[in-house]
Amino acid sequence: MISATPGKMVAALLLALTACVPTWASAVEPRPFDHAGLARQVLERHIVPGYARLTEAAKKLSRTLDRDCERPFGKPPKPVDASVRNLVDAWGRIEHINFGPVTDDNRLERILFFPDRRGLGARQVARALETREAAVTDAATLAGRSVALQGLGALDIVLYGSGRSDSETPEQRAHRCAYARAIAANLATLAQAILDAWSTPDGYRQHWLNAGPGDSVFVKPSETTLALAKALNQGLERVRDERLGAALGLGKQRRKMPAVLDKGGLSLALIKADLDGMLDMYEGGGMHAAIAPPDMKDDSDGIGTKAKLVASEMKTARDEVAGVVRIPSPFESAASSGRLISAGFPLKNARELVHGLLTTRANLSLGFNSSDGD
């Protein structure tokens, strides 16, 4: 048996004390966490507006493509470019909502298939363009094809990559534009379906707003908060590890992986929108206020300070990304990649802080196994 050294004893003491002290130590009895209130506020101020914005952005891109796509261009005309950026921004701002109707019918992957481990998107889209495949030019038939042929990843390749050039024949250009229009229309259909489920009284909305023993999806009021907590936790992890870390070569692969939407230089636009969206859910959606009500006078337990720090850390990361969002090849340049690396630290802090706050304040079971077991 290994004997305990003084150092180990001290460490054990700290751990034991940490484990045994009640997690809520305030002298003032905290008010109950308002799970139902948070669910309603997030729904009305964040989720529904987010999907409405996504739906409108996809429809706007469809209109822009109808008008401008087939004009001769070496790269997409500015109106198309602006509409694509608007759509990417709208998706990023709601992408972290990884539960509910967006998980039906593989909608998440049909909107953005990433990471694409086997490079399916590049291969399949290139083949569809080369062969001028008719099925991808109709939104209804496209919806039944491979997820790699649909969504923002395919749109990135169609508009900004894979053989596009000034020397394309009119037929090639017409096919490419028809494919882009079908992608936009399909995205609009997907976004509208998700929006409808969150908006109509008998849709997913009714489960979300009636969490409790009588509901079949959320059997406890706290389960809606748990869904939000997981969405924020996984969203922050995705931005840091998958979107930034992997593209910087700091991920588990230890080599640079393709960045998301890199053909059109939209990687950081999406990442910035991801952070804007999570910040909006936390602040505008009411998570911050639910954790630390604005009229809470006593902050002896530090809950209020930590809750502010979560927002501050997310803003810091967002500002780092925003500072280099227009730089070409941002993961290659030393200056911009340094800023992107530095964005990872506040993201890690924010994630750990909000995890602790929600565990304590909302009494959520966010344990290592209980929140993500197998």
Partner: protein, 366 residues
């Protein structure tokens, strides 16, 4: 105030401590193994003593799941959790280098495996995700764990598996989940509400299906973890996927040639299991089984012969549970660092709190 080492080591299991129940020292002179995460977020697997001291630890590239132990050499193999595709063999001998191996690109592990009785082969539950079928991969231990073949698990989403005690027959818990690495990181259930779970008995010499038992129509229940008791009684733990139905039975017993039978637990206990059994272990005598629920922070001990609930213990995020050398005694581990012996017949034992977030399963090595 002076604090003794014994006091220091009283861990996270607040319900035991708060009740003022005197703790019982349990001599568990054995080695255990489990995957885990450190405070720095790094994943590792370790062989450790019952008081939480590492004997050997190896780094893992990603999160691990279960560890299986060779009955001959006591060498361990830790598996990636789904949809990971790595496994690493290691032992308590520090001078023996770990040996990593992987599934083929079109397969991934489900986190569980088991050695043949002679230690020559390793069987692992795997996903043939393009064909949406479960398989049991066969690895040749002597050839650096070269994959030499596979046979059907006779179900979808095979998870835990075990040998019957006296026959070359594997019993496999086919969880019934359809998953694909391209969707939801490989962890999204693609057939919600239509989970076709079963337990299958498979002849390892031929791959033939000997028996297959289902729970009625496909639904929300997934049979995931199991262990084998005396007379080859199989104890199975289930999880509810998606729509919660906390009244559903979650623990089942099975003997060949019979139907699956639900263990009738008190109504309040069903709720405390929170729709989720994390792990199942049968004790050294083969008479009692322990099931844990990380979501319910609960360990429940059940007498296999009668299906009677013997006792329950609370511990935050408890999940790993293993038989020990002592009959009617288990070692449990938690995601909050606790290493806690659980005796069926004695007062609650003392918990050790470590700095590790112990993962889903714990197993006895020697």
């Amino acid at each position: 105030m002076a604090i003794s080492r014994r006091q220091l080591l009283l861990g996270c299991c607040g319900s035991l401590l708060a009740a003022g129940v005197p703790v019982q020292a349990v001599p568990l002179a054995a080695l255990y193994a489990a995957a885990r995460r450190g405070q720095d977020g790094a994943y590792s697997a370790a062989i450790f003593t019952a008081d939480g001291q590492d004997v050997r630890a190896i780094a893992l590239p990603e999160r691990g799941h279960d560890i299986t132990v060779c009955p001959v050499t006591k060498r361990c193999v830790v598996f990636a959790r789904r949809p990971g595709n790595f496994a690493i063999a290691f032992s308590a001998e520090r001078d023996e280098a770990p040996q990593a191996f992987t599934t083929p690109p079109d397969r991934h592990f489900y986190g569980h495996g088991i050695f043949s009785r002679d230690g020559r082969l390793l069987y692992a539950t795997e996903n043939d995700f393009e064909a949406a079928r479960g398989v049991i991969g066969i690895y040749n231990v002597a050839a650096k764990f070269e994959r030499i073949g596979e046979f059907a698990s006779h179900g979808l989403g095979p998870h835990d598996l075990a040998f019957l005690r006296g026959e070359p027959v594997l019993v496999v818990a086919n969880g019934g989940l359809r998953e694909h690495p391209d969707f939801g990181g490989g962890r999204r259930v693609l057939n919600p509400g239509a989970i076709d779970t079963c337990i299958a008995y498979v002849d390892v010499n031929t791959g033939d299906l000997l028996e297959r038992h289902v729970l009625g129509k496909p639904g929300v229940l997934s049979l995931r973890h199991l262990d084998v008791g005396t007379d080859d009684t199989v104890v199975v733990g289930a999880q509810i996927e998606g729509t919660a139905d906390h009244d559903a039975a979650l623990v089942f017993m099975h003997r060949r040639q019979h139907a699956l039978s639900a263990v009738m637990l008190p109504a309040e206990l069903k709720g405390r299991l929170a729709g989720y059994v994390s792990s199942v272990a049968v004790d050294g005598s083969g008479e009692v089984a322990a099931v844990t629920s990380s979501r319910g922070s609960l360990t429940a001990i059940i007498e296999i012969g009668s299906g009677r609930l013997v006792r329950t213990l609370s511990c935050n995020d408890v999940s790993g549970v293993s038989a020990t050398r002592v009959p009617r005694t288990f070692l449990t581990t938690s995601g909050e660092g606790a290493v806690l012996p659980v005796c069926v017949d004695e007062a609650p034992a003392q918990a050790v709190t470590t700095s590790w977030l112990w993962d889903n399963h714990t197993t006895i090595v020697a």
